[in-house]
């Protein structure tokens, strides 16, 4: 893999329950998915241990450290994070795209 290609990969960061379940804290996805939803499908495919949790929902997503909705665009080199409910959260519903 060339350096140039590596730099354009999409980084996916995992925390708390997602990291424990996957056994890794980060994965790299090749450019291709255009939206958050498409990228989540790819993650589910590449990381089958997460597919149930991803299908169930109940998590937020950030791109480049800002909350985004599921329809948001994803570009090469972006950093996406899957954010399970925060420790202080009492109501996680209706918070998409905070």
């Amino acid at each position: 893999m060339s350096r140039g290609l590596l730099f354009r990969m999409i980084t996916v960061k995992l925390f708390a329950t997602f990291r424990d379940k996957a056994g890794i804290n980060e994965l790299l996805v090749e450019p291709g998915p255009n939206t958050v939803t498409e990228l989540l499908t790819v993650i589910s495919h590449n990381c089958p241990s997460l597919s149930d949790m991803l299908a169930k929902g109940g998590f937020l997503v950030s791109v480049n450290r800002e909350f985004v909705g599921r329809d948001s665009k994803v570009s090469d080199g972006d950093e996406l994070a899957i954010l399970p409910p925060f420790s202080g959260g009492s109501n996680y519903s209706g918070r998409e795209g905070v």
């Binding site: 960061k13 925390f15 708390a16 329950t17 424990d20 109940g58 950030s62 450290r65 800002e66 909350f67 994070a81 954010l83 399970p84 409910p85 925060f86 420790s87 202080g88 959260g89 009492s90 996680y92 918070r95 905070v98």
Partner: protein, 143 residues
Amino acid sequence: MNETTFIRIQTATFSVDQEIRRLKKSSGAIGAIVTFLGTTRDISGEKKVSSLEFEHYPGMAEKKLHQIRSEAIQKYGVIDITIIHRVGMLPVGENIVLIAVAAKHREEAFSACRFCIDELKRITPIWKREITPEGEYWVEEHP
């Protein structure tokens, strides 16, 4: 003294007295300081808890705390705010989070302090794992 001094995520403990001394230096117009101190407790629902582990999303958690601080200063017209959150393994009885709000008068200081801790819990990517005699698990719902 820059903004970084007032927003910190750290493993080390902090001294409330020292933070208040630092905050007081912001302005001679300060007439009220309201603090919120969150500490680790030994019970969660019915379960006994021996320690807690906090994890954050480096970069994003700090960004959200800066955002909360700026918004509170603007919204309530307070003078300055310190927000410190600890991460890592914390035994029962340890300090977790400090919000200290300096203002001219108490009313806006109380309001801003409440706003900061509520927003911190709502939008800051920090997770908590409870370690109990029955096992360890991430807390996903908390009132």
